[in-house]
């Protein structure tokens, strides 16, 4: 496997247990509330298959589990399959780390890449992760995930077309 270097890191703190945060990351009943209606499919083991699916069944992201250590660390390879033109993007690695922090937990998400990825392409994750994790934090703390409208940034789409 090529070397993947962290390019985007987002940290938040959530008043919840590590187990609840883990469950929120790995079960569809929760992901579809804060991750723009996506269902998650994940085989709970190293090397297991991973996918995010849209409500109509279309696979949005596909990958493999490369770290599975509940409720501490989850790492998956991340190949975007939809929208179709995003398939040109080399796969990246997304890692979630959960650590106790006082009466809360620290959740860190790291997006790592194996190539010299331009900022324009990183802008997708840099706008998406804060929204997803803000919504997840609200969901776990208040029971409701606010809808945060999000589309791939124009600069990202243009950069993908240039690949």
């Amino acid at each position: 496997m090529p070397e993947f270097k962290p390019k985007t890191v987002y940290v938040t703190y959530i008043a919840a247990t590590p187990e609840r945060v883990w469950q929120a990351l790995t079960s569809s009943e929760v992901t579809r509330k804060y991750f723009w209606d996506r269902d998650i499919e994940i085989e709970p083991k190293l090397g297991g298959a991973f996918a995010l699916r849209l409500p109509d069944g279309t696979v949005n992201v596909r990958g493999k589990v490369i770290a599975w250590d509940p409720p501490r660390k989850l790492s998956v390879t991340w190949q975007v399959e939809w929208p179709e033109e995003f398939r040109k993007l080399p796969e990246c690695v997304v890692t979630y780390e959960i650590a106790p922090a006082g009466e809360a937990v620290r959740l860190t998400i790291t997006e790592s890449h194996s190539w010299n990825v331009p900022d324009a392409i990183l802008s997708g994750g840099r706008s998406g992760w804060p929204a997803a994790l803000s919504s997840l934090k609200s969901l776990l703390e208040t029971g409701k995930a606010p809808a945060i409208k999000m589309e791939p940034p124009k600069e990202m789409i243009e950069a993908i077309r240039r690949l």
Partner: protein, 152 residues
């Protein structure tokens, strides 16, 4: 080489006015900023301080821009760690944008100093403070026990 900067975005279920109040009212700040607060008259050119719970001064500077409830810019220098103070003034911009039923808060903290230790320090602090602020506005209770601010 781009200027060292820390950018953090969070979405909060509140109004721009309530968020503005939370960013500028010392009593509210003390709840989510682990006992710390900013001391300032909120007008451009006024002196600004960030104060530890025990009254010691953590940082000093100046209010640069005030546009409630949208934008606040602060000139910001550390006062309690000599190696950070030596880096001089940083600039912290807070922007509030209504986004549907939710409010987006962006913090941009930047300095014209390569390999800045101040930016490294605030990169660890802001996510704690802003997560705690979000909890306070959405649930009525800030986060507790997660801070190591000012304890180095």
């Amino acid at each position: 080489m781009a200027k060292p900067s820390f950018i953090y975005v969070t979405y909060i279920k509140t109004t721009p006015e309530k968020l503005w109040m939370a960013l500028t009212d010392p009593a509210l700040m003390k709840q989510y900023w682990f006992g710390m607060h900013q001391r300032a008259e909120w007008k451009a050119g006024a002196p600004w301080q960030l104060v530890f719970p025990d009254g010691r001064i953590a940082d000093t500077g100046e209010v640069v821009e005030v546009d409630p409830p949208k934008r606040l810019v602060i000139k910001w220098r550390n006062e309690w760690k000599p190696e950070l103070k030596a880096e001089g003034y940083s600039r912290c911009t807070m922007e509030i944008i209504q986004a549907g039923e939710i409010v987006r808060l962006t913090i941009i903290h930047e300095i014209d100093k390569p390999d800045s230790k101040l930016i490294e320090a605030v990169s660890g602090g802001w996510p704690k403070v802003l997560a705690s602020l979000k909890s306070l506005l959405e649930t009525g209770a800030a986060l507790s026990g997660i801070d190591q601010l000012g304890k180095a």
